[in-house]
């Protein structure tokens, strides 16, 4: 039975955040309201703190609600910045044609597991196996498919507990796209998106936010979960394992700064003007397969000129490699800076933000 409501955890919240119109104070100070991705939350929190020193008039107010909520609330105009691990779908763009999808950084996603006694060992997994686990076709850790990939490991005869996000999530988008690109049957079935109709698997769990995914996995022996790369520290602290994943070239690659940058570099030239591009399952021998742009979802037309200017300045600061995109700031949070080609595209999009 899916114990979904037991896991209703609000990942993070910042005091003072309200879902109302932007506040332009009489003094000229502007508060930009942001909500969305729990993976991106630590980065935005760091940026908000740093930006206090860069701007005396703009404040960033944050909540972590998941990428689906970030896109929805930015589209509805209840926040000025929707943080999302996924770009808006064509359907969402058609419904809200004035929305911009602006990459601010590059992130990764980890597949974490809780195998008592062997969490320190690097477990190898591939897309079809993960798809089989999440559809319930593979139920035990000592299934022949997993054993064949991990000949040196003594895997337990224990039932696998797949854990997925309970709310609309960019992490679900990235993970399900990996399964879609690597597994025909998944492509023809659940496919990918922020909201997935997860196949019913006995014992499977749902969790809210990346924080919830880590906490749920930590108390679920023989569980497996996909978690945003910025929660690497939380996974390590909980003594959980992180899988090495099979990429498009057929190699098993561990998540690292190098393998994430390598994957992004294979595809950055394919980034279109609107920057809605998937980096998942990138080609290249050394590419880590779960990589994505972290997006700011914003309306090109803001309710007033002051808010537009404040938002524009903040986003330009965020993608500047001397400020927000400084790799020294990003490294501890497990994000990578934008390549020059993509930075120029983001810059051009940010400059489209204007008042009424």
């Amino acid at each position: 039975m899916i114990r979904r409501h037991a896991m209703r955890i609000v990942a993070c919240a910042v005091a003072g955040a309200t879902l109302t119109a932007p506040v332009v104070a009489a003094s000229g100070a502007v508060t930009i309201k942001a909500t969305g991705s729990t993976l991106m939350y630590p980065l935005l929190e760091e940026w908000a703190e740093h930006y206090r020193n860069a701007s005396s008039t703009t404040r960033i107010s944050l909540t972590a609600t998941g990428s689906g909520a970030g896109i929805a609330q930015a589209s509805a105009g209840t926040v000025q910045l929707g943080a999302s691990d996924a770009y808006m779908t064509d359907e969402q763009i058609a419904a809200k044609p004035g929305m911009l999808n602006i990459p601010l950084a590059i992130s990764s996603q980890l597949v974490a597991y809780n195998l008592p006694g062997i969490n320190a060992a690097p477990l190898k997994l591939d897309g079809p196996t993960l798809a089989a686990i999440y559809t319930g076709t593979i139920r035990s850790w000592d299934d022949a498919a997993i054993v064949a990939m991990n000949p040196g490991l003594r895997l337990p005869h224990a039932t696998i507990v797949p854990i997925h996000r309970a709310e609309g999530s960019g992490d679900s988008f990235i993970f399900s796209q990996y399964l879609t690109f690597s597994t025909d049957s998944w492509e023809g079935g659940p496919s990918y998106g922020t909201d997935i109709a997860w196949p019913t698997v006995a014992g499977a769990k749902g969790a809210r936010g990346n924080d919830g995914m880590v906490k749920t996995l930590a108390v679920t022996p023989y569980g497996i979960a996909y978690v945003g790369g910025s929660f690497f520290g939380a996974i390590a602290a909980a003594h959980l394992g992180t899988a090495t994943l099979k990429n498009q070239a057929g190699n098993f690659v561990a998540p690292s700064a190098d393998s994430v940058r390598f994957a992004a570099a294979q595809l950055n030239a394919r980034t279109p003007q609107d920057e809605r591009l998937s980096l998942v399952f990138a080609p290249g021998a050394n590419s880590y397969p779960l990589v994505n742009y972290e997006y700011a979802i914003v309306a090109a037309k803001q309710p007033d000129a002051a808010t537009a200017a404040a938002l524009r300045d903040f986003l330009l600061w965020a993608i500047d490699e001397a400020h927000g995109n400084d790799q020294k700031t990003l490294d501890p949070l497990h994000f990578a800076s934008l390549p020059e080609y993509v930075r120029a595209l983001s810059d051009a999009q940010i400059r489209k933000i204007a008042g009424p």
Binding site: D90, G188, R270, S278, V280
Partner: protein
């Protein structure tokens, strides 16, 4: 004067005899061939235009569908239904509306099919969702299915016997011209507006010229041969006179003898009676077998296109990737269609000289050879592999378009008696499309089950069977007066089971 070689003294003069008459110079020398009248050229042009729009819209739909599927967020099952809708429509249209031309007349169905086509093309240009899309594609398919027999008959029952093959295949070739233009228009629209909803403009470009053709079709003559077998002798004479209006007028007078016609009631059962089953087998089975091998050679299309234009995106990672892939597919379609045009040009030149049967047999054998060469690519690497695939595919395409692709269409509209010609040709087209639908589903399974090499060798065999069936059930119609088919006259006896050398 009447050219004595075009008539048979043992039977009354038919409409086709009048159409085949060759004027003579005052010294008694006949013209080398029967000159076409303005109305004959108009009929041919409007039939060719219909084929042009078929090619245009079918290929534009091919380019538009990935965009539509993404915009409407179609899942795999819905995508499959969208992909099959037109093909299924052709199947239904060929059997139902195609056969109705035997009841309501060639011209009426020629107009009706174009109206159906235009109405649903117009809706397609603004279609709002999945089910309307499926309905539009199905109904366009129905119109195309009707056109298979109707366009053929409208030409073949109004043009001289000696030029019939040339004219029917030349009109058929306009499908390929339309495909090229459709691909080009699709490509241009995507270049100008690389957006998901650009497909609206693709379909919109065909609306105005299509409307002109639709209206113009009202002005042509009804098939005099069909009117005659219906017993409407006066109307048949009037239509023949309008059809053959030229300056100076020739023939001066058209008088059809009031004889009992052999009109058979519109009944599909008649296709399988002793008199017609030979024609039914000849028209249907080789066409079915030709569709099989066409799917087979399609296995190599991705390799061929990658070699010619570079690889497609590894996965669709953005709308831009989808459009890039679509443009690549458009270029591939243009390449394949160009090959088709070369083969079909030879078919136009040779159909009335060498005869349909010889070309179809020769074409099937050539297809088998092309498939065999392509199948040998599994034993080669690098350049050798690409060379064998190119050589095999090029040979196949040339041979199928010279032979079975053109000749099956031509024969299907010629081998049946006037009264059931629409039903017969419609049945043959539908039978072939049943094969196409079945193979579209079975091929991926077979490919996985028995492997590429074995599958291609099976197709080599089916192509050779196509050659054998063509020869064993041959009915050579080259130069034959179609009004005599199935009437038991001397010319018809000659036509069945014997090779008639065109005069």
């Amino acid at each position: 004067m009447i050219d004595g070689r075009s008539t048979d003294a043992s039977r009354p003069r038919t409409v086709q005899d009048y159409i085949d008459m060759r004027p003579t110079w005052p010294d008694g020398t006949p013209l080398p061939s029967t000159p076409m009248t303005g109305m004959q050229w108009l009929i041919w042009s409007l039939a060719a235009a219909g084929k042009f729009f078929e090619g245009l819209v079918v290929f534009m739909t091919g380019i538009a569908l990935p965009l539509i599927a993404r915009q409407f967020q179609l899942d795999a099952g819905q995508g499959g239904i969208v992909g099959a809708a037109t093909l299924f429509g052709i199947l239904i249209g060929a059997v139902t509306l195609g056969g109705l031309s035997d009841v309501f007349g060639r011209k009426r169905m020629f107009v009706v099919e174009m109206i159906i086509f235009m109405v649903f093309l117009g809706i397609l240009a603004v279609v709002p969702g999945y089910w309307p899309l499926v309905i539009c594609l199905f109904c366009i398919g129905v119109a195309l299915g009707c056109d298979y027999p109707t366009a053929h008959m409208i030409i073949s029952e109004s043009t001289p016997s000696a030029k019939r093959g040339q004219l029917v295949i030349a009109a058929f070739a306009f499908q390929a011209v339309g495909a090229l233009v459709g691909t080009g228009v699709g490509w241009l629209v995507l270049q100008a507006d690389p957006a998901l909803d650009a497909w609206h403009w693709m379909f919109a470009t065909a609306l105005l010229p299509g409307l002109i053709v639709t209206v113009w079709r009202f002005s042509i003559t009804e098939s005099a041969s069909w009117l005659f077998v219906r017993g409407e002798h006066e109307r048949a004479e009037a239509m023949a006179k309008r059809l053959l209006r030229r300056t100076p007028q020739f023939p001066k007078e058209i008088k059809l003898e009031r004889v009992d016609t052999h009109a058979e009631k519109m009944n599909y059962g008649a296709l399988f009676n002793q008199q017609n089953q030979r024609a039914t087998i000849l028209a249907s089975v080789p066409w079915f077998l030709q569709d099989l091998s066409t799917y087979g050679i399609g296995i190599f299309t991705p390799t061929l296109l990658a070699a010619a234009f570079g690889g497609a995106p590894d996965h669709i990672r953005s709308t831009a990737d989808l459009i890039t892939k679509d443009i690549l597919a458009a270029k591939g379609s243009a390449l394949i269609t160009s090959m088709l045009l070369v083969g079909i040009t030879f078919a136009v030149i040779l159909a009335d000289r060498l005869g349909r049967i010889k070309l179809q047999v020769f074409g099937f054998v050539g297809c088998a050879l092309g498939l065999l060469i392509a199948s040998c690519s599994v034993y080669a690497d690098g350049f050798g592999k690409i060379f064998l695939i190119f050589a095999g595919v090029m040979l196949f395409n040339f041979m199928t378009d010279l032979g079975p692709n053109a000749q099956t269409y031509l024969l299907a509209g010629e081998v049946f008696p006037v009264a059931i010609r629409g039903s017969g040709a419609g049945f043959a087209a539908a039978f072939a499309k049943v094969g196409a639908v079945l193979t579209a589903f079975m091929f991926p399974v077979l490919l996985k089950g028995i492997g590429q090499q074995a599958l291609l060798l099976i197709l080599v065999a089916t192509s050779l069977i196509g050659a054998w069936v063509t020869w064993a059930y041959r009915i050579e119609t080259t130069g034959v007066n179609l009004d005599t088919i199935g009437t038991g006259s001397r010319a018809d006896e000659l036509a069945v089971g014997a090779i008639v050398v065109a005069s």
